[in-house]
């Protein structure tokens, strides 16, 4: 047994870490969040140049064929730096579906995603609280017309194409639609963590047969796998946030003096930070377990991703809330990174099923 990263994986981690630490400045990020832009297009081009946008695509599709372990490495570092660029929607969710599908035109689209010139968003959610994505109300009629409204489409404002889950007859289908097609309307909203998501409505949008990516059990399988992978990615992101939360809190309490001593001298704070550390280590353990299961495509992979996401929902919020508490007033100030980890944690808990949902999925 060896639970260490391979040499290549260590190199990848160092490369991403170096970028996040030296070039991804939090204050620049904040300027972008407060501007009309949803993300920094220069950073996105840089991701493309580094090959990060091609990372998870298979070699046949022109990618590096990296798996869930490398993606987890990437997202853990993204979590620490609170990266807002829309990697999850285009590369992970849409990219994974396209890559594993037998869709005829997939290579052209994947190439555009890898080069950074095109965003594709997966429209998987509808106005329900139930996290059941395989029974959409959006429908594709016998005469090829798409009707319905999708909610919470990540990065929808920048997408040139949408992959839309819909029902076609009694089957689930995944279709791809141009965002400027007749009958498509997009309204965008800010997310808690500084990104954007959209509500996308389809009114009698004509979908040619060639734009049906998959249907029936194949569509079901593609959708669930992509969402499972994305769930792993945001959980890895949460682990990164948790690591930063305890490290930054330790650093702060050592430098903050009250009652003529650093507040890290107080045992109650020491134990709280130890709890934050332990929670972060436990999540990291479940992350490693889950990514290995996904990597080997095991039967139990959904279950282990659920275990991870369930734990993240609890431990992640705990860590971020304690980080805020131990930073005192500074913790709730918008100027410091620390409060933004809490916002990130809220977002992650809301995505793809919260803790309760995944506890239930795990036990089924």
């Amino acid at each position: 047994m060896n639970l260490n990263y391979s040499e290549e994986q260590v190199m990848l981690k160092e490369q991403i870490q170096k970028f996040c630490e030296t070039e991804y400045d939090f204050y620049k990020r904040e300027d972008v969040v407060k501007s009309d832009n949803d993300f920094d297009s220069k950073v996105w081009s840089l991701f493309a140049e580094q090959g990060w946008l091609s990372m998870p695509f298979s070699e046949e599709s022109g990618g590096f064929g990296f798996g869930p372990i490398e993606l987890s490495i990437l997202f853990e570092e993204f979590g620490k730096a609170l990266v807002i660029e829309p990697y999850l929607s285009s590369v992970v969710l849409s990219g994974n579906i396209l890559d594993n599908s037998s869709f005829a035109d997939k290579n052209n689209i994947i190439e555009s995603i890898c080069s950074g010139s095109m965003h594709v968003s997966l429209a998987y959610a509808e106005s329900t609280n139930k996290y059941d994505y395989t029974n959409p109300l959006t429908s594709l009629s016998a005469d090829s017309k798409l009707n319905g409204t999708k909610a919470l489409v990540l990065n929808g404002a920048n997408a040139s194409k949408f992959i839309v889950s819909c029902n076609s007859g009694d089957d689930l289908a995944l279709v791809i639609v141009d965002s400027n097609a007749d009958g498509v309307s997009v309204t965008s909203f800010p997310t808690v963590d500084g990104q954007t998501c959209s509500e996308v409505s389809f009114e009698n949008v004509l979908v040619s047969d060639t734009n049906i990516i998959a249907s029936g059990s194949e569509a079901n399988d593609l959708l669930l796998r992509a969402i499972n992978l994305a769930t792993l990615c945001v959980s890895a992101e949460a682990v990164g946030c948790m690591t930063s939360c305890y490290l930054k809190t330790v650093e702060y309490t050592k430098s903050r003096e009250q009652f003529d001593q650093p507040i890290s001298n107080f045992q109650v704070l020491q134990h709280r930070m130890v709890d934050m550390f332990i929670e972060s280590e436990l999540c990291k353990s479940l992350l490693i377990k889950a990514m290995l299961e996904v990597d080997t495509n095991s039967e139990d992979m959904f279950k282990h991703v659920s275990a991870l996401k369930a734990q993240i929902g609890k431990s992640g919020k705990f860590s971020a809330q304690q980080a805020v508490q131990l930073h005192g007033g500074m913790g709730v100030s918008d100027e410091l990174m620390i409060g933004h980890y809490l916002k990130k944690m809220l977002t992650i808990d809301a995505l793809f099923g919260n803790s309760d949902f995944h506890v239930k999925s795990f036990s089924v």
Binding site: Y131, F189, E199, Q258, F259, D260, A350, N354
Partner: protein, 390 residues
């Protein structure tokens, strides 16, 4: 034992309910608080003026200074009913912080000058306590006041000053003498916010709102007559004031109202896990309410509950925070969206439950309650020292 309020107390409660329900509580303000819309300075003023017009502004003052002279039980009922009625919290800085210091330790001139305006809500006050280097350890404060003839010259800075942007006056703790024991040498001074040399800079919090500020003092010249009580006795007054701040800290009425809202929402979700969490929270609220009543009973029957009241701060704020967490959970994946503290624009609201924006805003905003007014860690130190005696 008798858990019931007296007939007089019940009549008093009904009088408050009647006022709240029948036009006392300004309808335009009620509409906003009911719908989670942020209040403007004018809304806050209208609300306070209405309370003042009813004669309730001096809710915790003795009659001789123009207050209501209410018993502890009446004060409890007043606070609970205002919470249940969905009122915004009454601003404490004037009426329940600086005023008791003025009428207890101030001179007649100061009482005449400041108290009537506080009762009529003609002046907004803010609190100059915390400094960048002095939070939990408040007595280490460094803002300095030097006596020069008939004036004090103040230099230094205060932080986390709530609503300083609206304030006409600030009461500040300043160091008038450097002493071996840091609690000595502190004085309590009233400062007109229009005095040259005062600069207010906003601090934006994680909910995106502007509620708190930094206040900088550069050679601010304040008449010596604005000193309250004796020079160097400020720490005594500060502690006295913090004891008054405990009023309503459990926020039981507000929490009960929010709990009712939450129960309505969760009953529609068909979600047994959420139902369990709400039930557990309801038990906590019940335990807190009964704890507050026990302290009240002790007070009304000649007891002197002291540090036990820290339980109210700790559990009250925990409940307030848990409530906001459960609202966010009830929003499910819609909790992803957050338009900022002022909500979605009415012409472009997304699908999904209408309480989303308000819930996230409240969740982020309520992080402060376990930090301010003596952090919950400090409260536990107080209980440990003064109740457990360790």
């Amino acid at each position: 034992m008798d858990i019931n309020f007296t007939q007089e107390d019940l009549q008093f409660r009904d009088e408050i309910r009647d006022w709240l329900a029948n036009g006392g509580y300004p309808t335009h303000v009620k509409h906003k608080t009911d719908n989670g819309i942020a209040l403007t300075k004018q809304d806050m003023t209208d609300f306070h003026k209405a309370v003042s017009a009813k004669g309730w502004m001096g809710y915790n003052w003795p009659k001789e200074h123009g207050g209501t002279g209410w018993s502890a039980t009446q004060l409890y009922i007043f606070n609970k009913e205002f919470g249940l009625g969905g009122c915004p919290p009454l601003l404490a800085f004037g009426v329940s912080m600086v005023a008791p210091v003025i009428y207890t330790f101030g001179n007649d001139e100061q009482k005449k000058r400041f108290l009537p305006d506080i009762l009529e809500f003609n002046t907004w006050w803010c609190q100059g306590y915390s400094e960048p280097g002095s939070g939990s350890d408040l007595a280490s404060l460094k803002t300095k006041a030097v006596r020069e003839g008939d004036h004090y010259i103040i230099n230094g800075s205060k932080t986390w000053t709530t609503l300083a942007q609206n304030a006409d006056w600030i009461f500040v703790l300043v160091r008038t003498e450097t002493t071996k024991i840091k609690q000595e040498g502190i004085s309590f001074i009233l400062v007109d916010m229009k005095t040259p040399g005062i600069e207010v800079k906003p601090i934006i919090t994680i909910d995106g709102d502007h509620e708190v500020n930094s206040v900088f003092f550069t050679d601010v010249k304040v008449p010596a007559e604005n000193l309250v009580g004796e020079e160097g006795k400020g720490w005594t007054y500060a502690k006295f004031l913090l004891a008054h701040e405990r009023f309503g800290i459990a926020a039981i009425g507000t929490s009960m109202r929010q709990l009712k809202r939450l129960k309505n929402i969760v009953s529609e979700l068909d979600n047994p896990e959420m139902e369990k969490k709400v039930a557990e929270l309801e038990i906590s609220v019940s335990a807190l309410e009964m704890t507050e009543l026990r302290l009240l009973s002790a007070l009304e029957n000649g007891g002197h509950p002291g540090a036990e009241s820290s339980i109210l701060k700790i559990k009250g704020t925990e409940i307030q925070q848990t409530l906001t967490e459960l609202f966010v959970e009830a929003a499910g994946e819609y909790a992803l969206m957050y338009p900022g503290p002022h909500g979605f624009e009415s012409n472009s609201k997304p699908e999904g439950p209408d309480f989303v924006a308000q819930s996230i805003s409240a969740f982020l905003n309520m992080r402060k309650v376990s930090i301010y007014g003596g952090s919950n860690e400090i409260q536990k130190n107080i209980i440990s020292k003064f109740v457990l005696g360790v």
